[in-house]
Structure formats: structure tokens, C-alpha cells
């Protein structure tokens, strides 16, 4: 189970990284085109914006499953392990709820853009495509978030660590 979830999160990270790399290449091609007089790739920055937003949503699952978020540990490290596990479970549960909230609202935002039929300024692609891609990423992020909440709740219930924090 955990291996499958980890593979999913890593797969999303590689997908996001690939999109990011393609955007980097495209941006460089666009600069060269502009400098040698062929002109930039039209709407290059629109693609960067939409692509990077998707990439970031695709990056969240790996951060979630490896507990990569920034925290201040210095005080909480002195709590007894039992209390620590319960707090972690609560935190992770809230995190999962927030990720669900984000996905839900982004889905609703995507539908609004679809209904309004808004298009991007230069390339004239429907804005809901970009929203939809990010929405897909946010759904997987929420899915992984719920799984991690389950893991931490199970840890608190059984009173022992199941999945270590940090990188696999």
C-alpha cells in the first residue's frame, strides 16, 4: 500500500519536473528566437504560468508523503511520544481537510472558468484548461493527504511509528 502511494507521489513529482524542464527549454528557445530576430514563442509566459502552477500541484504529494513541510520542531520534540503522535495525527488530519478544501474550491473555480468561457490573453486557450490541470494535481495531492492522515491516525492508535518521516 505504502509503496504504491509513494510510487504515485514520485510519479507526480517526475511528471511535474518534466513539465518544468520543458518550460525551461521552451523559455530558452524563446529567448534565442527573440535575440536572433525570429521573434519569441508567442505566449511563452502564459505557458510558463499555467505549467508551473500544474507542476507545483504535482509536487505536493511527494512533499506530503515524505513529511517535507517546514515546521518548528524544537519545542514539540520534548513532548512525550504518545502525545506527539496524537498531535501529529490531528495536524495531518487538518492538512488533509485543507487539501480537500483546496481541491474542491479549485474544481469549482475550474467550472466557473469553463462556464464563463474565459480565454488567455495571447494564445487564446481556454483558461479552464490550465485550471483543470492544476485541479487534477490538487485531487491527487488531497488523495495522498488523506492517506497520510490515515497513516498518522493509525500510528496514534497503535502507539508505534509505521512510516518514518523524511525521504524514503
Amino acid at each position: 500500500m505504502h509503496t504504491a502511494m509513494l510510487r504515485l507521489a514520485q510519479g507526480m513529482a517526475v511528471l511535474g519536473g518534466t513539465v518544468l524542464s520543458l518550460l525551461i527549454l521552451m523559455t530558452c528557445v524563446s529567448i534565442v528566437g527573440r535575440e536572433i530576430g525570429l521573434g519569441p514563442i508567442p505566449g511563452d509566459f502564459e505557458m510558463v504560468e499555467a505549467g508551473v502552477a500544474f507542476a507545483i500541484f504535482a509536487f505536493i504529494p511527494l512533499c506530503q508523503i515524505t513529511s517535507g513541510h517546514a515546521t518548528v520542531d524544537i519545542f514539540a520534540n520534548r513532548f512525550p511520544p504518545g502525545l506527539s503522535r496524537i498531535m501529529r495525527a490531528v495536524t495531518e488530519l487538518v492538512f488533509a481537510l485543507v487539501l480537500i478544501l483546496i481541491a474542491w474550491r479549485l474544481g469549482s473555480g475550474t467550472l466557473s472558468k469553463l462556464n464563463v468561457g474565459e480565454t488567455s490573453f495571447i494564445l487564446q486557450f481556454p483558461v479552464w484548461w490550465a485550471f483543470g490541470a492544476s485541479f487534477a494535481g490538487s485531487v491527487i495531492a488531497a488523495f495522498v493527504g488523506v492517506y497520510m492522515a490515515g497513516v498518522r491516525i493509525a500510528e496514534a492508535a497503535q502507539g508505534r511509528p509505521l512510516i518514518p518521516e523524511g525521504e524514503p
Partner: protein, 498 residues
């Protein structure tokens, strides 16, 4: 409760959550969400904002620099440039007393020029330099402290992820901030070298000696670092010269370091996937804090807390320098427990309006007018201007009297109070940004939770953490002295952008 009271009450709640190990971005997001609900009496506004705010935050064109810089930093690590930089610096400095440590600082500075992250710089240079330091008889604590301090140069020397975030929060020009960070970054490296030479004078037995390297070999080692120089000049020079936007510069840098890594054999399918994993984790971490901060700061703005606080500070009549000093000390203390990006995102929206409301006297109307007059008249008196007019202008400048609009129009200059205020606001923002950048970076090397110390210490567990803590105090002292110098002489930071 009034909105203002809700805003103020949110601080202790937020801090309590953060200290209970709630991820910082999550804590800000939740407090912001609940806060907006309380201030706007219901969930409609908060939920409505969430429809688009996550997407618009993540698709911010300027912020897309961040994942690109992170990928660039990882490619730089894979490209083997850290070894080349260390070899070059070691060749020139290694034979001095404490020279291998000085060389580590030099190599960190060089690596910082192509890497925008402190942790990556510390980790990369640590792997290369720590074994060498130990081989030449440098004490463990001293070696680790050197590399942890050297790592902070990754962010001080542009490109810098933290400066990008600061620029976006305060709506400043990224290129100008990078340029302003350059001299303080060099000063940081020099300050660390001085700290090392003082340290080895106190503890001569903690640094070994190393034979001189012949000049031919030194030059060869120096030539080997050309790709670093090329990428740095292309990225930072190109951004500043206006060849491309900072985001495009980041793309060029990522491609450049990627190509170097490819040619050196460091970039393979396996390491590329690793790079994506590392970039994914850091990017998601940073952007979740950015998102939480955007939400929390949106809530704070609704409550008017930042502007009320700024008004209050001004009304108290504190001197501007006293306020600045208090804020910087606050960062030093908070830096002991919190990471730099979180601190910046958490506090800049509150402190920046305060700093902006104060007058540090960085620019002066009369001085600027005098300079403009001198420039306008340096090629002789412009044609068709009455000599009496020129005489009256010269007299006004000599007596320190503000020029009239007619006088300025006569010699075709325009230095109004409004323009001077705009320049003063920009210079204050940039100066404050560099100062904050330095003090939050000190947090990376201050006990008990300096991240750089942990990263380096994890590489060689035979050294006790307490030894590293003791040695790093020399570097912290160097940082603090540098901050005092930069506060006392703003021109050091600002002369390049004037």
C-alpha cells in the same frame, strides 16, 4: 471583537500552532481562513477567494523563478562544479594558516553564484570540502562551522530564492535586489575569512598545514571553473542588462547548469529523476508557505493591522534606526527556531509597512538637485539660457535652497520632492531587504536549530554538535559586525543601484 482585535489576536494563536509543530504554511492558511471568516461574518468570502487564489498564487510568473532556481541548484551539484571550485580555491589559499577553511569559504561563495539556496550550498560543499579539511588536520567542530557558515553564502550571493520572495512581497525590482546583494555577499565571504584567521590565532592546533601548490597547477585549477563564471555572468548579468526577465534568467541558468552536468556525466536518467524528487519536495514546501502566507496576509490586510501598526510606531516617535535595530534583533532571535523563508513570509507584510513609514535619510532633495545641476552644467552652460538664471541656480545650490520649477526647467532637469520620495522608498526597501536577508541567514547557523549546522554535522557524526556550536560563534560574530557596518553605511549596499 473589532477586526483590529481579531487581527492582533491572530499572532499568538499562529505562533502557538507553529510551536506545536503544525507546518508553518498550514498554520498560516488555517488561521487566515478562520480569520477571514470572523472578519467577514461567514465563509462566503473565504471560499470565494479559494476558487482562484491557489491557482493564481502558484501561477505567478515571478514566483516561477523559485522551482527553476531549485532545479538549477541541483544541476549545479550534479555538475561537479563544487569539486572544481574547491580545488581552485585550495590551490591559491590552502597553504596559509587556516587556508583550507578559507578555501572552503571561497568555494562556497563561488557555488553560491550559481545556486540560490543555502541548504544546497552547505550540503554540496560539505560533501567535497569536509573530508579534505579533516585530511589536513582541521578540527571537526571548526571544519563543520566553516562549511555551515559558508553555506549561507548560497543565498547572500545572487541568485537567491529568498530575495525573489522578498521582491515579490514588497513589489521591488528583482534585478536591483540581486545587484544590491552582490557587495554585501562579497563582504560576507571576506568577513568569514577574517573570522577563520582570528580563530586559528586563538586555536593554532585546530588547523593543519598544507604544502604550497605550484602556480601552473593553480592556474589550471582556476581555468577549470570557467563554466561557473559563464553561468553566473549569463544569468545575473543578463537579468541586469535587461536581456531577459528574472524568470527567463532562471530558465537560462537551469539549462546552463543542466548542460554542464550533462557534459560532465553527472546528469543521467537516474540523477535527473532524483533532481525532480528533490526539487519537488523543496518547491512544494516553499509554495505551501507562500500560499499560507498569501491567505494570512490577505486576512491581516482586512483587519488593518499592518497599517495601524505602522502608524503607531511612527506616532511613538522612536528613531528610525532604533526601530530597524529592534526588527533586526527580532529576526536574529526568531531565526534561532524558524527557517528563513517562513520568517520572511510571516513577518515582512507586517514589518515592511513600518519600515516604509520611517525616513532613514537615504536620499536628500538638495543633494540630488545639486548633483543634477552639476551634471547638467558639466558641458558648459546650455544654449539660450540667461546668465542670470544660471547664476541664480548656482547661488541656490551653494546656499542649500530648494530650486524652483522655473530654475529646473531652464536647465532641463526635474528633481522634485515626489521623485526624491519615490527613490527614497525604493532604496529603503532594497537596503532593508538585504539587511533582513543577512539576519535571517544567520538563523541557519545559530544554535539550537541552525539547519546548516545539522546538515553538515550529519555528514560526520564523530564530531560532537557542541564543538560545532562553539566554533560557529566566530562566524556569527562576523555576521553581526557586518550587519552593523551595513546599517551604519547604507551606501555599501546601495551604491551599485544609484
Amino acid at each position: 471583537m473589532s477586526d483590529l482585535a481579531i487581527g492582533i489576536a491572530s499572532f499568538p494563536v499562529l505562533l502557538a500552532l507553529i510551536f506545536l509543530r503544525v507546518p508553518i504554511g498550514l498554520a498560516m492558511f488555517v488561521v487566515g481562513l478562520v480569520g477571514v471568516n470572523l472578519v467577514t461574518d461567514g465563509w462566503t468570502v473565504a471560499l470565494g477567494r479559494l476558487k482562484t487564489e491557489t491557482y493564481t498564487t502558484f501561477s505567478n510568473y515571478s514566483l516561477s523563478i523559485v522551482p527553476m532556481f531549485l532545479l538549477m541548484g541541483h544541476f549545479a551539484t550534479l555538475g561537479g562544479m563544487s569539486t572544481a571550485l574547491f580545488k581552485a580555491a585550495e590551490g591559491w589559499l590552502g597553504h596559509r594558516k587556516g587556508g583550507v577553511a578559507m578555501a572552503s569559504i571561497g568555494a562556497c561563495a563561488g557555488f553560491g553564484a550559481i545556486c540560490g539556496s543555502s541548504l544546497a550550498t552547505a550540503a554540496t560543499m560539505g560533501r567535497v570540502a569536509l573530508p579534505e579539511l579533516r585530511r589536513y588536520g582541521y578540527a571537526g567542530g571548526f571544519s563543520q562551522a566553516t562549511l555551515a557558515a559558508g553555506g549561507t553564502l548560497g543565498i547572500l550571493i545572487p541568485p537567491s530564492v529568498v530575495l525573489v520572495i522578498y521582491a515579490i512581497l514588497t513589489e521591488q525590482n528583482i534585478a536591483k535586489l540581486f545587484l544590491a546583494a552582490f557587495v554585501p555577499g562579497i563582504l560576507a565571504a571576506l568577513g568569514y575569512v577574517i573570522a577563520i584567521s582570528i580563530y586559528v590565532r586563538f586555536y593554532p592546533d585546530r588547523a593543519g598545514t598544507r604544502p604550497r601548490v605550484p602556480y601552473a597547477e593553480r592556474l589550471r585549477a582556476l581555468v577549470a571553473v570557467w563554466p561557473v563564471l559563464l553561468v553566473f555572468l549569463l544569468v545575473v548579468g543578463g537579468i541586469y542588462a535587461g536581456w531577459f526577465t528574472p524568470t527567463e534568467g532562471a530558465a537560462v541558468g537551469a539549462l546552463g547548469t543542466g548542460l554542464i552536468a550533462l557534459f560532465n556525466g553527472g546528469l543521467t536518467g537516474k540523477t535527473l529523476i532524483e533532481s525532480f524528487h528533490v526539487t519537488a519536495r523543496s518547491t512544494a514546501m516553499i509554495f505551501f508557505i507562500v500560499l499560507g502566507a498569501a491567505f494570512y496576509n490577505g486576512f491581516l490586510a482586512l483587519t488593518q493591522v499592518p497599517s495601524e501598526l505602522a502608524d503607531w510606531v511612527v506616532a511613538q516617535g522612536f528613531t528610525p534606526l532604533m526601530v530597524l535595530a529592534l526588527i533586526l534583533v527580532f529576526y536574529l532571535l526568531l531565526g534561532c527556531v524558524m527557517d528563513s523563508l517562513s520568517m520572511i513570509l510571516l513577518t515582512i507584510p507586517i514589518f515592511f509597512p513600518v519600515i516604509s513609514a520611517l525616513d532613514f535619510g537615504l536620499v536628500n532633495l538638495l543633494d540630488m538637485q545639486a548633483a543634477a545641476v552639476a551634471e547638467a552644467l558639466q558641458n558648459g552652460i546650455p544654449e539660450g539660457v540667461a546668465p542670470e538664471m544660471i547664476a541664480s541656480i548656482r547661488e541656490a545650490v551653494a546656499n542649500g535652497v530648494e530650486l524652483t520649477r522655473e530654475q529646473m526647467r531652464a536647465i532641463d532637469i526635474n528633481v522634485s520632492q515626489g521623485r526624491v520620495n519615490r527613490i527614497a522608498a525604493e532604496q529603503t526597501a532594497i537596503w532593508f531587504g538585504i539587511l533582513v536577508l543577512i539576519v535571517v541567514e544567520v538563523g541557519l547557523i545559530t544554535p539550537p536549530v541552525g539547519m546548516n549546522l545539522f546538515i553538515i554535522n550529519a555528514m560526520d557524526r564523530t564530531t560532537k554538535m557542541i564543538e560545532t556550536y562553539k566554533a560557529v560563534l566566530f562566524f556569527v560574530a562576523s555576521d553581526i559586525i557586518r550587519v552593523v557596518i551595513l546599517v551604519a553605511f547604507p551606501a555599501i549596499t546601495l551604491f551599485l543601484i544609484r
